[in-house]
Symmetry: C2
Subunit: 289 residues, 2 copies
């Protein structure tokens, strides 16, 4: 994971405009959030799925990095005062606390644009136009008004309301799991995997993504929502729809464990190439932050 993280960060650094590029404030704001200590889970997963499907070399890097830029844009917008109103992210002040709300909105907008731009320029050079279009179709479906953004809307509208099992599954599937699933599937697409293999990787990603968000909820609930959150944010978090809120902690732990097992089952037949996918699945449920 550590080697993978460093390679992704070097690639991100090379792709992004430098801080000296005009307007410097914007490019500083963008780089502040991209290099703020993320685990790079999604790009590492993308690359691991690419390799599990027989892919080799660095042709997957533009896709993996584009996915991390999309993830960063979504975090910056999620943290805004009108959204989750978070002052801290990974122990550091959120983008709008450092650069102001207007810049945070614009940095997010620019990151989404840069993500697609990266695919269209570097991705197309590595993969050719047709495969790039295929990857874009997949990714955009996962993050738009029927994917990640839809999940964020329903999450927001569910705050303070008692939601049922169906709604909480919708929120987590769309808000978090859709991009994690797309990370895996785009890796498989870049490796030109066959339909059956892509379906296995998709199932792996979907289940792993859902387990990832349930584990997040569990960690939040166990840690008293962390000790680094501001009052307003803490209050909002308490009213969020979560798996422990709907199913209780014990049942949520069981559900996450079962999802991780099922995720592993769906790729176990691939053989030795899928070993990193099994380790990553174990990490998701054992992580502490």
């Amino acid at each position: 994971m550590e080697t993978g993280r460093k390679e992704i960060e070097a690639a991100l650094d090379a792709y992004l405009p430098p801080e000296t590029e005009y307007p410097q404030s914007l490019h500083k704001s963008i780089r502040y959030s991209v290099f703020s200590g993320g685990k790079r889970f999604r790009p590492i997963l993308c690359r691991a799925c690419f390799e599990a499907c027989g892919g080799d070399g660095s042709s997957v890097m533009p896709v993996a990095c584009a996915i991390e830029l999309v993830h960063t844009y979504s975090l910056i917008h999620d943290d805004l005062p009108c959204m989750d109103d978070d002052d801290l992210r990974r122990g550091k002040p959120t983008n709008h606390k450092v650069f102001g709300e207007a810049m945070a909105v614009l940095a997010g907008d620019a990151l989404l644009t840069l993500a697609v731009d990266l695919l269209v320029r570097e991705g197309a050079r590595e993969l050719g136009a047709a495969r790039t279009i295929g990857v874009l179709e997949d990714l955009l479906h996962a993050i738009g008004s029927e994917g990640m953004v839809a999940g964020q809307v329903v999450d927001m509208e569910s705050e303070g309301r008692g939601v049922g099992a169906e709604t909480i599954e919708y929120i987590h599937s769309h808000k978090t799991a859709a991009l994690i699933e797309a990370s895996g599937r785009c890796g498989a697409l870049v490796a030109e995997a066959g339909e059956a293999l892509i379906a296995c990787i998709s199932e792996y990603g979907r289940k792993l993504g859902l387990a990832f968000q349930i584990t997040d909820d569990i960690l939040d609930a166990e840690g008293g929502f962390g000790d680094l959150k501001s009052g307003a944010s803490l209050d909002k978090r308490k009213h969020k729809a979560t798996y422990p809120g709907v199913f209780g902690l014990g049942m949520s732990r069981q559900m996450a464990a079962r999802l991780v097992d099922e995720a592993k089952d769906s790729v176990a037949h691939i053989g030795v190439g899928a070993l990193p996918l099994l380790s990553m699945a174990d990490l998701v449920i054992r992580r502490s932050s």
Copy 2:
């Protein structure tokens, strides 16, 4: 213009998810802003440039509509309280006044995603993968951290400061003219125009786009910033960097007129196919709203 507007609106209606699509609130918010009485200047220009370059049929429609979705996303985010804080747009309450700030941020995010999605799905089907990638490259460069978003950042940072000629030209070229220029150039790209013709269309679009924004500034200044603006917005507008603010009204009018003349000159040699481009240029300077 009126026929063109109706055709663009019918195409937009067909491309966008219906209001009944879950989550309905998001899709209502998206459609509210897309169908709020826009002139459809950019998609009509895109199509006119496509036709001036010998293009025929409807293959340009996904590109033209994607550009209008990008324009709409930028307006929704520009109107936010943390940005220009506008209560009204085209005489109607702005998106965040009707749907709340969080939804306005998300509707903008979804529209940018939908715009690229439209190009990647419908565009690629009409134009093939390679030409779609070419159009995307062009469009993304115009709207990202070195294009439209950069212009918005510098505009925001220039509020209340005395800016010079160079800065105001940077703001308007990037914030407004870049997308108008891309509208024309993407039309030419779809028509598979040669390099020389694309260069003429680019120059036309760049100059027309700048004249468009200068005329906006002049209308604002002449109309006392309009009578439909809220107090806060009016106050912000007064402190914005504008051409009349930097050069005075008389000189700004002369600059806009000269730019329109130069825009027309750059496409006049195309002949009868460029007549609509000449009319559109005249409209830009004669418009009253």
